[in-house]
Symmetry: C2
Subunit: 367 residues, 2 copies
């Protein structure tokens, strides 16, 4: 973790930042090993280019933070009675941040945290440090990959267990709960709201599992993830209940081919978010369903379930070895069905590897 | 819900705001009935003083939003391929927001959303609308209170069920899982991470239930909440395993008296966050444990588990009838134990009512 701070400082120097201000969330976990849920109570780590990082935090969180973080931090606790402004001002002054350029997290920091900093860091400039931190986090080391492999193992094992229990007539949310419980039984937490979307509900890529009962002829989208040691997995498979209409089968095969094309493109030297997206999208467009593939092909995964790099047109930087992301093309037919097949992929030194290996051919369930 | 928009506009006018910009979260649920989890995909409702509100959102969320919201919204969808900037610019221009004063949510809006607005709303000024919206939300109507009463009913019933199953030697996290499952079995979701903190772990008010086994002589803090139709409950009770040391018993009785004093102060005409906090704190200070009551006495509850009004020194505005909040004094003895007793209270026209009625006298568990 100290190495991560060293690396962050090198990147800060390169980008002309005098300090980083990091609020609770994945970046604070990444840089300081701290998982703090302080909601509206101001909590903020200041990392100057040199010297000890500072942590402004509610006094009642200090003992927990000191026990949890491997980083040597200088603490600026504040009490509910006093409020955070004084502690923040002292931390900013001690770090000499007046007139400096401070990197902040545009995607995580809230306006009240920005305004608090603006008030005490006189004549400071603020710049978005999110891409800089995302770039560091996109490339996983061996330990991070090991955690992700375990998260993948648990989500695939529990998907097997869940599918084996599915019967015609069961409600989506009953099935989602079975999967959810299985994830917890294996010592993980669900990475997000476990989703079962059956029949026409599959046409909504962000459906909430509800009271619809599985019927003969349904396609059913299963989308779930597990968290292991802070790192996530994310898998989607689409299964058939009983006999499927021929056109649904064709849609399935098209998505299957698009998934394969996306994974193959990821393994090509110089692969980019754009090249992977284009490869998957081309298959679906050629098959005549282009307008029904309504989202990007994938997103980075790691400490967050959605993080850079995004697998989408415009992202033209080659993905370095160790980068982890999803490949998840889909076709959504309003009122009819949806199909999505999602894998978790890591770029390797000589290609790409799919961490998820759950069978991709159409599985028949419910009997 | 249309009434809420009307009310919001009256308050906006009073505060000199030309428009509100509302991002996904409790305020969007409150004003537009929309529960959107769009993470890093820009989503923003613009409410001008007059005319139709606008919703900028990912195209793939539009059908879901149209089905869910009772509000007549003008939609500005954007695709992953195009990005959000064009849609946001059109919405801002159509609403005529150049040079206007836009109310934003300092506690919810992230910097990337603010920067996106700043870029397209030429010469606009931004002001914090959080207090204005919080003021509206603090006072619950009959329907909201009914939902909170149901959330309270579920959390109290499941706490009873859970305590009946506790045995000496069980792990904290096993007990937390029992409670969690019971909440889900009653059709609710946990409002936050259900907490069981035993023995010395109770000294951390934000302990994460872990692998410690319950022992004879422990005090055990149970802190949980349920969500029903979006509204939360939040209760804490502290129980004894076997025979308790005399000084722990005294600490318990002190917190019990502080809880009663806080609730009584809430029922006094003109009660404020400060007066309730002072009443509870005085009991603990008089008992000699003032430095061990390390947090405010409570927080508002409703759509959020922590929302204004906060029950703390400095909050001197009388709480209007319909205001809901917690009263939760505690004493935390590092390395020894913690005690907290938390109720959910609503201000009524002639006093205050505790929505939570679970027994407050010390319960003995584990046998």
């Amino acid at each position: 973790m100290t190495e991560r701070l060293t690396c962050a400082r090198a990147v800060m120097r390169h980008h002309g930042l005098d300090a980083l201000a990091v609020v609770p969330g994945s970046n604070l976990r990444y840089l300081a090993g701290l998982e703090l849920q302080t909601r509206l109570r101001l909590t903020l780590m200041l990392v100057p280019l040199d010297g000890q990082p500072a942590l402004v935090l509610p006094a009642m969180e200090q003992a927990r933070a000191m026990a949890a973080s491997p980083i040597d931090l200088r603490y600026y606790p504040w009490s509910d009675a006093d409020g955070p402004d004084g502690a923040l001002a002292r931390a900013v002054n001690d770090a000499g941040l007046a007139g400096s350029t401070i990197g902040i997290e545009h995607t995580t920091m809230r306006v009240f945290e920005l305004r608090a900093l603006e008030q005490v860091a006189v004549e400071a400039r603020f710049a978005d440090a999110t891409p800089l931190l995302a770039g560091m986090r996109a490339v996983k080391d061996a330990e991070e990959l090991a955690a992700m492999r375990e998260a993948v193992r648990v989500i695939e094992m529990t998907l097997h267990e869940t599918l084996a229990q599915v019967r015609i007539g069961m409600l989506e949310r009953e099935i989602a709960e079975i999967w959810d419980r299985a994830i917890r039984a294996h010592g993980c937490l669900p990475a997000f709201e476990t989703t079962v979307a059956s029949g026409p509900n599959g046409a909504n890529p962000h459906h909430t599992s509800g009271d619809r009962a599985l019927q003969d002829g349904d396609l059913v989208v299963f989308d779930g993830g597990a968290v292991y040691q802070g790192y996530v997995s994310d898998i989607t498979r689409t299964c058939a209940v009983g006999r499927l209409a021929d056109d649904m089968r064709q849609v399935y095969d098209l998505v299957l081919a698009a998934n394969a094309a996306g994974r193959a493109a990821a393994g090509t030297p110089g692969a980019t978010g754009e090249s992977i997206d284009a490869a998957a999208r081309r298959v679906i467009e050629t098959g005549g369903y282009g307008p029904h593939f309504i989202h990007r092909t994938g997103h980075g995964i790691g400490l967050d379930i959605h993080e850079p790099p995004f697998i989408v047109a415009g992202n033209r930087v080659p993905l370095p070895a160790g980068t982890t992301f999803t490949v998840e093309p889909g076709i959504y037919l309003r009122g009819v069905c949806g199909v999505r097949i999602e894998d978790d992929v890591v770029i390797t030194t000589n290609g790409a590897e799919s961490l998820t290996t759950f069978p991709r051919e159409l599985l028949s369930i419910g009997h």
